[in-house]
Symmetry: C2
Subunit: 458 residues, 2 copies
């Protein structure tokens, strides 16, 4: 039976045009990472499930793709023992059948890598990693089951100079991509301090999750949610002006210093913010930056700075985000190692660039010059000329079949090849090469050895 081919839901093929655009983004990001001394690592697509489980919350565990053990995995299983009235115990039976799962993000693999290779790593460890991750999320517009993350992290120092480097890399990447963005900065310690001084330190998670929704659902809903979570009216009233805080960075800090006067943690957070903003000024960062106390990113492992980037000219969620985490490697047995990192969302950046028509036009053409194929002898004649051009960096094709010229022109046109050369027996006899600019129609003839002349015309 003939199969009608398709791919799994939530996954994508990338065409040559899409890959050219994706590589444009990746190359810029890689170049910026490298210029700050962050060098690339790669980790396996499959991690042991024991490495992944429990790191992303109960919801995350369900979204892990599990890989069935090879060999005969079923024979060792007593299926009846996993059966309940409501069906099988999915998690337990999955774990019995699957030792491995697909990478869910690049952060847990980083933590695992750092602990596993700690004796060979030079700290502070500045690493970048650009690889796909997989999540069994329900696919929807802009959300995929396989997508790339572009991460950069520095592990083993608490210096705010590392937060600064993240800020600078954000500035560089989006300047090179010609995208106007806003960087929002917050500090988890400030949020902790707020929870502490409003009298509900144990509700920090609820408060930050509610605050994180501020922009999406508005102040009223957030207050309702805080009330649902058990915060008193006084505490909520206390938080309200803080959420409405405005003015310059210095003004905000001054107000916050008063509010957080009784919280050591909160004041430490303000110190960090001030130190970071001092470095940002010293480094002459031009990027629009805003301190935003509503920024929490819902990620409970952040312990210091929280960063998020929004595109200014296109409506989409955050296109980049990260922060500082003080104990990521603790779960793998290496406590008290602080790290800070940020992740660029390549898929969303792609959507913004496409929406704003910001991809460079010349990305389309995989090849500069096509030699048409008149017959086998003429093809043989142009082969060394094509090689000479390639040796000089000019991507060159020789059309493989001596079809009608119309077909060969069509090929050049559809592939966006801007120049064509049609050498037949006469050109071969005279040792000449003609080259035609398909857009302008201009045509020139060169001696076959005049590679420099041809290149000047291209």
């Amino acid at each position: 039976m003939i199969q009608k081919p398709s791919i799994p839901r939530g996954t994508r093929d990338f065409s040559q045009e899409q890959m050219a655009r994706r590589n444009y983004i990746f190359d810029i990001i890689k170049g910026v990472f490298a210029s700050f001394g962050y060098a690339q690592i790669e980790t396996p697509a499959m991690e042991k499930l024991s490495t992944l489980l429990g790191k992303y919350g109960e919801e995350g565990d369900k979204l892990l793709f599990r890989v069935l053990d090879s060999g005969d995995p079923f024979d060792k299983i007593d299926f009846a023992s996993y059966k309940t009235e409501d069906g099988y115990k999915t998690a337990a039976l999955s774990s019995a059948l699957c030792e491995r799962g697909l990478r869910y993000d690049l952060t847990v693999p980083l933590a695992r890598f750092v602990v596993q290779h700690q004796n060979k790593i030079v700290f502070p460890f500045k690493r970048s990693q650009i690889q796909p991750v997989w999540r069994a999320d329900r696919p929807q517009k802009g959300r995929y089951r396989e997508f790339y993350q572009c991460d950069v992290d520095a592990i083993g120092s608490t210096s705010q100079l590392l937060e600064l480097e993240l800020v600078q890399m954000v500035e560089e990447v989006f300047a090179k991509l010609d995208l106007r963005v806003l960087l929002k900065i917050n500090n988890r310690k400030v949020l902790s301090g707020l929870a502490e001084v409003c009298g509900f330190p144990e509700k920090l998670t609820d408060i930050t999750i509610a605050i994180d929704k501020l922009e999406k659902v508005g102040l009223k809903e957030v207050k309702a949610e805080l009330s649902d979570k058990g915060l008193s009216k006084e505490a909520i009233d206390f938080l309200e002006p803080v959420l409405k805080l405005s003015g310059s960075f210095e003004e905000k800090i001054a107000v916050m210093r008063e509010v957080l006067a009784s919280s050591e943690t909160g004041l430490k957070g303000l110190d960090e913010l001030e130190e970071l903003f001092g470095y940002i000024a010293a480094a002459q960062v031009k990027l629009p930056i805003e301190m935003d106390l509503s920024l929490a990113r819902g990620l409970n492992y952040y312990t210091g700075a929280i960063l998020e980037v929004k595109a200014l000219d296109w409506e989409i969620g955050s296109i980049c985000g990260g922060g500082r985490y003080d104990n990521l490697t603790g779960i793998f047995g290496l406590p008290d190692v602080s790290g800070v990192g940020i992740s660029f969302g390549a898929d969303r950046i792609y959507d913004v660039l496409e929406g704003l028509n910001k991809f460079p036009a010349e990305l389309g053409a995989p090849c500069t010059l096509l030699f048409a194929n008149m017959d086998a002898a003429s093809a043989a004649y142009v082969l060394p000329i094509a090689s000479a051009l390639r040796a000089k960096g000019i991507a060159t094709e020789v059309y493989p079949d001596s079809l009608k010229l119309k077909k060969q022109f069509d090929y050049a046109d559809k592939k966006g090849i801007p120049f064509i050369s049609i050498c037949g027996s006469r050109e071969a006899a005279e040792g000449k090469v003609n080259v035609k600019n398909l857009a302008s129609g201009e045509e020139k003839t060169f001696d076959k050895g005049d590679v420099e002349g041809i290149i000047c015309f291209l």
Copy 2:
């Protein structure tokens, strides 16, 4: 409980040093592919199992990594119905639980891609693809469960100019990698012709598999295997001189034309070989190339040219191989589309380069200049200078913590950073920057704005 972290058997982490070396190989391969007009595509890591099953033989099906369906995959299964006396029916039960599997190679995904997107593709379709593949093979030295393939294929033309391009790309890649290699070429039609004229056309597969082992086990074993497979003594005697064939390309072809005189297929194969070698001469290919009738690569889907590359100065299996296949897309409903392609084995090429010490020395250094950190004020002073250097393409770090200089020198040393700058309050007051070459000990002082001067010294 603290986990001692590790990764699944047969998979690997790549350190920054290893990634620099791997990227050196990938970048050369990508550059050569692009110069011939082969542009990159990517396909998802997970394919539907229906796409993968049955394409790699029974053994291959067992080596597929299957991904457990998400949600509650077990509840729909009647496990008892899969039970036999010898245990569960592994294949059937796996398929009931797993809709998806991990990509096993890049060729079947290519065939699926071509059929699925046939209306958008410009033919001949020249595509490259560099992505990992996964196989549940028993791990051993040099054999991994996750490894990269670097494939290049042209689909939709039978022209031998495309075989030539593969030959030229092999030449270019290994010239750029500075590796001496031998390219072996054969043609499956010639092998078919041999099977035909020796009287056992239906034994083609047995004959080619036996011939493929010639180099490994020797003539005697191959003859024994052919006998085991049911070939008559006469047929084996007939094959023997052909396997022992020697001399120049022309001499071999002349002998083969006589032997294959009665086989239309065999003569077509010789025509193709002669056409290809004619183009190779016309294109002035310098690569050592040998016609090798014992080359079969054990892959039954090749129908024309068969190619294989061996390193001349290092003992290892083939480091690159491929060929022509006339009906790859037929299984997905698009018959009569001929393709030809080759795959570079990045892992083996890595091993050869490492064994021969052929990696460029400068790959090691992720960064050119480290600004030491004397204190916060001095760090702030050097920040704009570091930015100016990065803007000129110089990878530059600022050490994040004001630790003892010994520690900071150690960091530069271990990371292979060749230059260090130690600016304290005096340099800041005078507006100066000193830079020291750590290998030679030479030191120079510059005005802080003299970025060009600093770059000249680096």
